[in-house]
C-alpha cells in the first residue's frame, strides 16, 4: 500500500533542512498548506457533487440534465457559482444583522472541521484524535446552532418555523447516527479513524466482519445520514411551494450559497464516514485466497479507494432522494423516535452479543 507519511515526512525535512525553517515555522507552514488544501478540496468536491446531483436526478427522471453550457453541461456549475457570486446580498431592516451574517459561517465551519476528520489515505489524516468518532459527532452538532440562528435572525415567521423543523430533525437523527457508530466502535474496539481503517485493512471490511448487525447499522446510518444532511425524503427546506422553504428563505447571494455548499459537503462527509466505518475507508478490496487479485487491488492508491467508495455511497443517497416522496415533519420525527431508535438499540445489543461471543469474522 502507498503510505502518505513518506510525503509528509519529506515535506517536513524539506522545510526544516533545505529551507532552514525552525521547528515551529515548519509546522506553521504545513498547517497553512493543509488548510489551503482542505479549502480547495472542499470547493472541488462541492462542484463535482452539484454536477453529479443534477445528472443523477436527470437520470432518474429520464431527462438529460444540463447539456448546454460546455460539453455535457460540464461548465454549468461554474456559471452557477459566478451567478451566485454576482448576486446582491440583501440586508433587511429590523433584523439582527450580526447573527444573520454569522449563521452561514457557523454551518460552513462545522462542516469544514468534520471534513478534515476524514481519513484520505494511509497516513493522510488531518485530524486524528484517539476519540476521533466522538469528536466528529461533537463538531457536527454545532451546525444546528447555525440553522436555528439563521431562522431566528431572518425575522420571518416561516423561516423561524423552518428552523425549528430542521433543528428538531437534525437533533433527533443525531441519536441514530451516534448509536449506529457506537455499534461499529463496539466491533472495532477503537475510536480513532486511522486505527479503524488500519484494522479493516488487516482484518477485512467491517460490513463483512460484522455481517447481520453491521448491515442493519449501515442501512439505518444511510437513512439517518440523509436526514442529518436535510436531504432525501427529509428535505423540508427544499419545498418552497408548500412550506415557504426553510431556515434560509431570507438569504440571498453567497450567503445562501454557503448553505448550499454545506449541504453538499455534508452529503459527502456523511458518505465518507459510511465508507470509513463500514466499507473500509482507504482499505482496498481483499478476498482471501485470491493473491493475484489482492496484489492488483492493493496497487491502487488508498485515496482512490476512499473517494470511490464515498462517491458510491453518495450515489446510493441520491438514488434514495430522487425515488421517495417527501415526508411530513411529524412523520419524520415519529420514524426516528418510534422505529429507528428502538431498532438501533436492539442492533447495538446484538452487535455487543456477536462481539462477546466471537461470532464475527
Amino acid at each position: 500500500m502507498f503510505n502518505f507519511t513518506t510525503i509528509t515526512n519529506w515535506l517536513h525535512s524539506f522545510l526544516t533542512t533545505t529551507c532552514g525553517f525552525a521547528e515551529w515555522g515548519a509546522i506553521l507552514t504545513e498547517s497553512v498548506l493543509v488548510a489551503l488544501v482542505i479549502i480547495t478540496l472542499y470547493a472541488v468536491f462541492a462542484i463535482a457533487l452539484i454536477y453529479m446531483e443534477r445528472k443523477v436526478c436527470a437520470f432518474f427522471q429520464c431527462r438529460l440534465g444540463p447539456m448546454r453550457v460546455g460539453k455535457w453541461g460540464l461548465l454549468q456549475v461554474f456559471s452557477d457559482v459566478f451567478k451566485m457570486l454576482t448576486k446582491e446580498i440583501i440586508s433587511m431592516r429590523q433584523t439582527d444583522q450580526f447573527l444573520h451574517n454569522l449563521a452561514p459561517f457557523l454551518v460552513v465551519m462545522a462542516s469544514m472541521i468534520t471534513f478534515a476528520c476524514l481519513p484520505w489515505n494511509q497516513g493522510a489524516h488531518i485530524i486524528d484524535f484517539n476519540v476521533g468518532v466522538f469528536f466528529f459527532l461533537a463538531i457536527s452538532s454545532i451546525g444546528v446552532v447555525g440553522i436555528l440562528l439563521a431562522g431566528w435572525s431572518s425575522n420571518n415567521k416561516f423561516s423561524l418555523i423552518g428552523a425549528m423543523r430542521s433543528g428538531a430533525q437534525i437533533i433527533s437523527y443525531e441519536l441514530s447516527i451516534g448509536l449506529t457508530m457506537l455499534a461499529m466502535i463496539c466491533l472495532t474496539g477503537t475510536m480513532s479513524f486511522s486505527e479503524i481503517c488500519n484494522d479493516q485493512y488487516v482484518n477485512g471490511w467491517n460490513i463483512v466482519r460484522g455481517h447481520v448487525p453491521a448491515v442493519i447499522a449501515f442501512i439505518i446510518y444511510l437513512v439517518a445520514g440523509n436526514a442529518e444532511c436535510n436531504r432525501g425524503p427529509f428535505d423540508l427546506p427544499e419545498c418552497e411551494s408548500e412550506l415557504t422553504a426553510g431556515y434560509h428563505t431570507e438569504y440571498s447571494g453567497m450567503h445562501f450559497g454557503y448553505y448550499y455548499l454545506a449541504e453538499y459537503l455534508n452529503l459527502f462527509i456523511c458518505a465518507g464516514m459510511a465508507s470509513t466505518i463500514f466499507l473500509g475507508g482507504w482499505a482496498p478490496l481483499q478476498i482471501a485466497g485470491l493473491d493475484g487479485f489482492n496484489a492488483v487491488m492493493a496497487f491502487i492508491p488508498g485515496a482512490v479507494w476512499f473517494v470511490g467508495k464515498a462517491f458510491f455511497v453518495v450515489f446510493l443517497l441520491m438514488w434514495l432522494r430522487w425515488t421517495f416522496p417527501r415526508l411530513r415533519i411529524d412523520q419524520i420525527l415519529s420514524l426516528e423516535w418510534k422505529y429507528l431508535i428502538p431498532f438501533t438499540m436492539v442492533n447495538l445489543v446484538l452487535m455487543a452479543l456477536c462481539v462477546a461471543m466471537g461470532w464475527t469474522f
Partner: protein, 167 residues
C-alpha cells in the same frame, strides 16, 4: 496559542453579559464554551474537549436557543436593567473575584509550566483508560457514581415522559 484563546474567551464572556439581545448572549456563550474546549485540546485532553463541545456547544446552547425561540419569539429585547440588581451583581462578582485571586495566589502549583502531552505518547488519556476507570470497582474506579448518574438520567427520562404524555 493560549493567549489567543484566553483573549477570545475573555472578550466573548464580556460580550455575553454586556449585550442587550438574549439570542446574541447565547451566541457569545457558545464562543466562550468553544474557546474553553480549545483550551482542553491545547492541553491534550481530547476526550474532555470533545465532551465540552458535544454537551455544552451542541447540547446546552441548542437547548437555550430552542427555549428562547419557543418562549419569546422575535420580541426579546431584554429586561430593563435596574440599578439595584446591578449593584448586587457587582458585589457578588467582586466577592467571587477576590476568592478566585486569593486561591490562585496561595495555591502551590505542582509545576509552573504545563507541557502538552504528545499525541500517541504513553501518558495521554485514551478513551480505553477512561472506560476502564469508569467501570472498575477498585480504588480509583468510578462504577458507583457512574451507576448513580445513569439512574438519575433514567429518572429524568421517565419524568419527561410523564410530563409530555397526552392525557
Amino acid at each position: 496559542m493560549f493567549i489567543i484563546l484566553a483573549v477570545f474567551i475573555m472578550l466573548s464572556s464580556f460580550a455575553t453579559v454586556m449585550t442587550k439581545s438574549i439570542v446574541r448572549a447565547a451566541t457569545y456563550l457558545l464562543f466562550v464554551l468553544l474557546g474553553t474546549a480549545g483550551l482542553y485540546f491545547l492541553m491534550g485532553f481530547t476526550f474532555l474537549g470533545s465532551v465540552q463541545v458535544m454537551v455544552y456547544a451542541g447540547g446546552i446552547i441548542v437547548l437555550y436557543v430552542f427555549s428562547i425561540l419557543l418562549t419569546e419569539g422575535a420580541k426579546d429585547e431584554t429586561f430593563k436593567r435596574k440599578m439595584k440588581d446591578a449593584s448586587w451583581g457587582l458585589v457578588l462578582s467582586l466577592i467571587g473575584f477576590i476568592a478566585f485571586v486569593s486561591v490562585v495566589l496561595t495555591y502551590q502549583f505542582r509545576s509552573l509550566v504545563l507541557t502538552a502531552p504528545i499525541e500517541g505518547g504513553e501518558e495521554l488519556t485514551t478513551i480505553e483508560s477512561i472506560g476502564r476507570h469508569m467501570l472498575s470497582t477498585d480504588a480509583g474506579g468510578y462504577l458507583l457514581p457512574f451507576e448513580a448518574v445513569s439512574v438519575l438520567l433514567l429518572a429524568c427520562i421517565v419524568g419527561a415522559l410523564v410530563i409530555a404524555r397526552k392525557r
